[in-house]
Structures are given as structure tokens and as C-alpha cells.
Amino acid sequence: MELAFYIAGAVAVISTVLMLTRLNVVHALLYLIVSLLSVAVVFYLLGAPFVAALEVIVYAGAIMVLFIFVVMMLNLGEHASGMERRWLTPGIWTGPMLLAGVLIIEVVYLARGATGALGTAAIGPQEVGIALYGPYLIGVELASMLLLAGLVGAYHLGSHEAKRPEIQHDADTHERRADASGDLVLAGTDQPARTP
């Protein structure tokens, strides 16, 4: 069990280092997903299965989907087709696949073998739920208000660029990108020339 913990920790550190040294955003996102999954395995080994499941669902699921959406919307790779061809080469996804394979082997071994507590006994989701809605009820309310504020803020910030999709369309051409690099366009004050 100690060995499994150290393996998962090593996978986390290695994938984080590889994430930080990538130049491409999507490759870094792949390594970040592997890092989060290995941290989830560490949580499971520490006797926190509920938190491990939440880590997989929220971090590796929802937040990664947000990142991928933003990367897609930004379209940072201008030479997208050539990059697409290079993404299909196997050299890029072998690294995350190897690290994720180590994690999968470890999880299968754990599922077949002993219980997941390292040292102390596991704290199940029942105790977490009871504590969460007992003495921490104020915290839950505050977290919900924070999430609501984040939702409204993200919608507000995102709705400005939804009002002018023409600019985003024009931004794909290079001359628009070149002359738009210097000036600040206030929100809602510009009316781009609509060419039929």
C-alpha cells in the first residue's frame, strides 16, 4: 500500500513537471489530467474515496472541459490543419498514455486487493455528508453563493464577446490581427463594417 502511494505520487510529480515544460496548451492539458487523476488515486489511498471521486468528476471532468472549450475558442494554433496532422502522430500521446496506464494498473490492483486505507481507517462519504450538513452548513451556503457569483460573473464577462461575433470572425485574418493589436476597443462602442 505504501508502494502504491509512492507510485501514484511519482506519477503526479512527473506528469506535473511534463505539463509545465510543454509548449502546446493541449499537450499540457493532457498531462494535467493525468496529474489530477494520480492525485485522485492518492486520495483513495489515503482513505478518502468520496473526495477521490469528486476530484475525478469536478477537476478532471468539468474544469478540464472548461479549459478545452477556451482553447478551442481561442484557436491559438493558426496553422490548425498541419497541427492536426501532427497531433495524430503517436509520439505525443504516448507519454500521458504511459502514465495513465501505470495508474490504471494500480487501480485494478487496488480493486482486486485490499481496502484503500493507508494507515488509518477510511472516512466514507456518509461521515463527510453528515459533517458537511451539520456543523459546516454555513460553509455550504457560502460556497453556493460563491458559485452563484462565479456563474453570474462568467456569464457577464462572456456575454460581451457574444454580442459581437463579427469581430471574432474577422480576427482570423492576419491583417485584422495586426492592426487590432494596439488599440483598445471599448465594449459595445464599435460597429464593425458588415460586408455582405
Partner: protein, 92 residues
């Protein structure tokens, strides 16, 4: 120990990388490491509070990354760049 290593990696990346998306990703790594420290402490003393704290960190990270990515979109549409050095002028 592991949490410390991950946190310092995120901090180094935050200081080194000059891309806003990488900055946000390293912030994720740092928050994750902090949550890992909480869970390890809660598991060490067999308390539930560590996991509760991790849940709050999770909610906070979700809200932060939503607002941060919306800001990244706005910044990219205004400045056509995500480089922190070119954005650091504060003149518009």
C-alpha cells in the same frame, strides 16, 4: 511532502510561464496541492474536516477557473495576445 512538491511546481510554473492559460493551469495545480495537504492532514488525525475543506477548495477552484477563463477570452479578444509581458502595460 508530495503536496509541497506539487505546490512548489505550480508556483515555479506561475512565475516562469508567460501564457495566461498556463498561469491558470498552474493555479489549478497549486490549489490541488493545498487540497491534498488538507486531505492528508485529515487522514492523519482521522478527522472529517480535511475533506470538508477540500470540498470548499474544489468549489472555489471551479468558480475561480470559470471567471478566469472568461477573463482570458475577453483579454484575447481585446489584445489578440495572451502573453503576460505584453499585457502588463496597464495602458490599454
Amino acid at each position: 511532502m508530495l503536496a509541497g512538491i506539487l505546490f512548489s511546481l505550480g508556483l515555479i510554473s506561475l512565475l516562469v510561464r508567460r501564457d495566461l492559460i498556463f498561469v491558470l493551469m498552474s493555479l489549478e495545480v497549486m490549489l490541488n496541492a493545498a487540497g491534498l495537504a488538507f486531505v492528508v492532514a485529515g487522514s492523519r488525525w482521522h478527522q472529517v474536516d480535511g475533506q470538508i475543506m477540500f470540498l470548499f477548495i474544489l468549489a472555489m477552484a471551479a468558480a475561480e477557473v470559470a471567471v478566469g477563463l472568461a477573463l482570458v477570452l475577453q483579454i484575447y479578444h481585446r489584445f489578440k495576445s495572451l502573453d503576460v509581458d505584453t499585457l502588463g502595460e496597464m495602458r490599454g
